[in-house]
């Protein structure tokens, strides 16, 4: 419990630091900082209201306190271009990014773990000679380029999958959950998730293989063989369980990193997620939205880093249970 609280405190500190950094970034850039928050398209009443709300005419430290206070209340400000609360826009995009990231990671890790474990046994074979360079190549390739290839081949070329978006334009759903589980959504999800999975699988594959190889040399595996245990028991119950520790941690870390890294995939596939919101907000100088999107993405990253830490401690009895004589 102490450990959980400690990590939580640490995560909150990092979040605070990042929020403050964002504050400074957007206000200390050259030029008139108020322009970052007020667009000419706003009516005069709106401008006055915003000036007050953000305290843009007040000294910097007062602005900072106002900013932090609003953040804590979930008030990320109002989008210039869409003229509605930033938080609403972000919460619409969040499920799409979450669906994409989680599904891609699950597929990537399921494949990577199994393939990696298999490769640990296939040492010195032709399969290994092909698989390892292939995995390295997927890690070296820009994900958006992989997406482009798949798009050109499977969507434009063979016409199997839709080329953009998460739903057919104009479709209506009874609830968010209904939309996320609809066949339409899932069909749109296939290409982007596949691309992301293709890019991501290299890590769990190589990691699982490396850890398996190490573990298979450990003394307790030799002992398991001497006990006459079946191959299955040795690999699954003993080797894999040990080898999965770092892979599970990597999964949690990957979740956090992919949230932000999805930016390019979402652009290639016009996937309406947080990344795309950030990019279009930045391109359109919609700074409150850009700021909000950045903070939300960072928040997920910091949260998952903490989860990864705790996960490792929980899974490894050597860490979670101290030594006692």
């Amino acid at each position: 419990m102490k450990r959980v609280l400690g990590r939580l405190g640490h995560a909150l500190f990092v979040l605070w630091a990042i929020a403050s950094l964002t504050f400074l970034l957007f206000r200390l850039m050259p030029g008139d900082p108020t322009l970052n928050f007020l667009s000419e398209s706003f009516s005069d009443e709106m401008r006055l209201a915003l000036l007050n709300a953000f305290g843009l005419d007040k000294p910097l430290h007062e602005q900072y306190l106002l900013y932090m206070w609003s953040l804590l209340q979930g008030d990320f400000g109002v989008s210039f271009l869409q003229k509605r609360p930033v938080l609403d826009i972000l919460l619409e995009a969040l499920p799409n990014t979450a669906a994409l990231t989680v599904s891609a990671l699950v597929v990537a890790y399921a494949f990577g773990i199994i393939a990696g474990a298999y490769l640990a046994f296939a040492r010195g074979t032709v399969v290994e000679g092909i698989a390892i360079p292939a995995a390295l190549i997927t890690r070296a390739a820009p994900e958006f380029w992989l997406g482009m290839i798949l798009l050109a081949w499977l969507s434009f070329g063979l016409g199997i999958f839709p080329a953009s978006g998460a739903n057919v334009a104009g479709s209506e759903f009874t609830s968010e959950w209904a939309r996320l589980t609809s066949a339409d959504f899932l069909w749109h999800l296939v290409l982007p998730a596949l691309t992301l999975a293709l890019y991501l699988q290299g890590l769990p594959l190589l990691l699982m293989r490396a850890t398996m190889l190490e573990v298979l040399n450990d003394e307790f595996i030799v002992m398991a063989r001497m006990k006459g245990l079946s191959r299955w028991a040795i690999v699954m119950r003993h080797a894999a369980r040990n080898a999965l520790l770092p892979v599970a941690t990597a999964f949690a870390l990957g979740l956090g990193q992919s949230f932000g890294g999805n930016v390019v995939i979402e652009t290639v596939f016009s996937w309406p997620g947080l990344g795309r919101v950030l990019v279009s907000a930045v391109q359109g100088a919609d700074y409150p939205l850009a700021q909000g999107a950045f903070i939300m993405i960072a928040g997920v990253l910091v949260l998952m880093n903490m989860v990864a830490d705790l996960l490792y401690a929980w899974l490894d009895p050597r860490v979670s249970v101290g030594a006692k004589r």
Binding site: I18, L21, F144, M148, F294
Partner: protein
């Protein structure tokens, strides 16, 4: 036993060259990686000779028709873009920005990371805590989004790109170097240097730094790949330097001009392939060097 060189009167050939060659021959991975780097470096240096056209020049077929989307041919090895520019020449000149960005960014990452790792590991105390705290915050920053935001708030340029890559990637190197310094700090010869009155600066930079240099170089070779991928992503999204010629920009151009729906493979496959090769080269070198730097790590 007299060496042959002593007899002939010439100074002995340094063993380093022979050793390096022997190492390369025994490590096919590193060999291939270095060969790829060399190839790209040569193309970058001799771009003027290798390219067939001016990459920025809009070409015409006939008097008024822009030479758009031409398929690959003997004059245009990879065809032309939607704007009538030669793809192959763009590809060739793209090596320059890729290598500059990659190497510069990697260099900065290594220098920053090693510096902080050395200071943090050796000095300990509040310096260590401070550096590690900063590192934690930096690690909490989403990589690509941060690069985008910075590029947007300042004007997009190669310098801002390199700077943001360096600013975000140093923590990993720093942590690893710090670990190594922590263990080196306890060694006998460091203690001896302390006792004889060496200043901390001297100990850090003259005694310990050379020991961590191989590890730093290892991370450097991987950082090159990361920097190139980041530049490509940023350019693709429209946040790169628009006046430069880069593979990322080529891909953006292709994407925005229906290269996918038209199936103009010769336009968007090669730039991606070049990126893959260069990043892969970094991986291969680091994999190959592991054997040399950490011989105790069995395969």
């Amino acid at each position: 036993m007299q060496s042959a060189s002593a007899v002939s009167g010439h100074p002995a050939k340094p063993g380093a060259v022979r050793r390096a060659w022997g190492f390369l021959r025994s490590q096919p991975f590193a060999f291939v990686g270095i060969a790829i780097y060399l190839l790209f470096a040569l193309v970058a240096i001799f771009a003027d000779q290798v390219a067939t056209h001016d990459p920025r020049q809009i070409l015409f077929s006939g008097t008024f028709r822009v030479a758009r989307y031409l398929p690959p041919s003997m004059t245009h090895f990879l065809g032309t873009t939607a704007g009538g520019r030669d793809v192959f020449s763009q590809l060739v000149y793209g090596t320059r920005s890729a290598l500059t960005v990659g190497v510069t960014a990697a260099f900065c990452v290594v220098v920053l990371g090693t510096l902080f790792g050395l200071l943090s590991g050796y000095l300990g105390g509040w310096v260590d805590r401070l550096v590690m705290r900063i590192a934690d915050v930096v690690i909490g920053l989403p990589f690509l989004p941060f690069v985008l935001v910075i590029s947007a708030l300042t004007r997009p340029s190669t310098t801002t790109l390199v700077a943001s890559v360096a600013l975000l990637l140093w923590p990993n190197t720093a942590r690893v170097i710090r670990s190594q310094v922590l263990s080196l700090r306890e060694r006998g010869w460091v203690e001896a240097a302390r006792v004889t009155g060496c200043s901390p600066t001297r100990i850090i930079f003259v005694h310990i730094a050379p020991q961590v240099a191989p590890l730093a170089a290892l991370y450097g070779s991987i950082a090159v790949g990361w920097a190139i991928l980041t530049e490509a992503s940023a350019s693709f999204l429209g946040f790169g330097d628009p006046s430069a010629i880069s593979w990322g920009l080529m891909l953006q151009d292709a994407f925005n001009n229906q290269a996918l729906s038209r199936g103009v493979w010769a336009w968007f496959i090669p730039p991606g392939l070049c990126i893959v090769l260069l990043v892969l080269a970094g991986f291969l070198i680091s994999r190959g060097s592991e054997k040399l730097l950490f011989p105790k790590l069995g395969d």
